[in-house]
Point group: C2
Chain length 193, copies 2
Amino acid sequence: MFERLIEGTEQKVVLSSEDLETLKSFFIPKKVRKRQYILNAGDVCQYITFVEKGLLRSFTVDDDGREHVIQFASEGWWVSDVGSFVSGKDALYNIEALEDSELLHLTRRAMDELLIKLPVMERFFRILMQNNIIALQRRVIAYMSLSAEEKYLKLMDVAPDIMNRASQQHIASYLSITPETLSRIRKKISENQ
Amino acid sequence: MFERLIEGTEQKVVLSSEDLETLKSFFIPKKVRKRQYILNAGDVCQYITFVEKGLLRSFTVDDDGREHVIQFASEGWWVSDVGSFVSGKDALYNIEALEDSELLHLTRRAMDELLIKLPVMERFFRILMQNNIIALQRRVIAYMSLSAEEKYLKLMDVAPDIMNRASQQHIASYLSITPETLSRIRKKISENQ
DNA sequence: TCCTCGACTTGACACAGATCAAGTTATTTC
DNA sequence: GAAATAACTTGATCTGTGTCAAGTCGAGGA
């Protein structure tokens, strides 16, 4: 239940086996079923969540009722509404399981205590945040400079796994195109080989 | 030369006046003129830079030679190509001064030493990164759900200062629209009052 | 096994915003 | 302070992608 978490943490910081036990003790393991929500927009986001197994999406619903996928999170990824988690304000995002999943929740309080007990984890989370920024900046650029087809091909290249596991409408939403356009892109690409 | 840096740091973490002197000692003050580049894409980004005074933009140039503004940074903001800075790989972004500016550079080595000497700064940078993520996610959502005019109005609301100081083409680039479209939006809005 | 309901496909059409081009107005620069 | 250059405006036209609508397919429930 903690394999991926430990693997991911050891990639960024050095921890003794004792530290690892301490680390584990702060997380709440949780199994969720497909379609289950772990966060509803409007509630306060209580956790930053690590995905041991499964697939989630975080998304907003805009004023016209349209859904926009912010992020997919599969094995080894973290997901949260960071803004809500750190400030205690209402969440803007929903988080939903797209597959039966095994999660590790870290509450705000647990995180604060963890950072006191294992200060090296400050570094870990800083690096995590840095990597998140790098990814988000890339995404902003992709939205700015690429056509629908180019965005599709890029995602196919970077995250083929997600492409197979998420539904077309969710992928379309992530790419910020309509399911119809995505369908046509796929058709066109399959015809050209 | 350090007023803004100190002000901004004290908002996030508690430091003694001795700590503040230590903090200052790690930064390299630098004045740059309008149009001067402090980072060229392809070089390694040596600094994370704090803006004491002035205005910068970071931007990429895509394969078609089009520029895309990632970020504006005015007084109190940090700017860097985080990906390059932390990994030592080639920068994807350029950073250019849009006004004569006063900057504080922190090298990678200085940052590492600073974090050893003042571990509380781990927290500071983690919070900085968190806020950056929150802003970037909002921007992704804005790109996904808003029309050109709505994006313009939103930026006008959030950063009216930038609107007055940056050129139309740079604002258009930031909003990912053409200067022509921005010109028409401004005309339309000014006619409606 | 059939029925249902959601997911995907396909076509016809609409439109926001891009592109191209030609003027006008600022801002540099010498 | 005049010439050169860059920035902005405005119009005409084009185009990628959205919208709407009518299928088709496929998996899960009774």
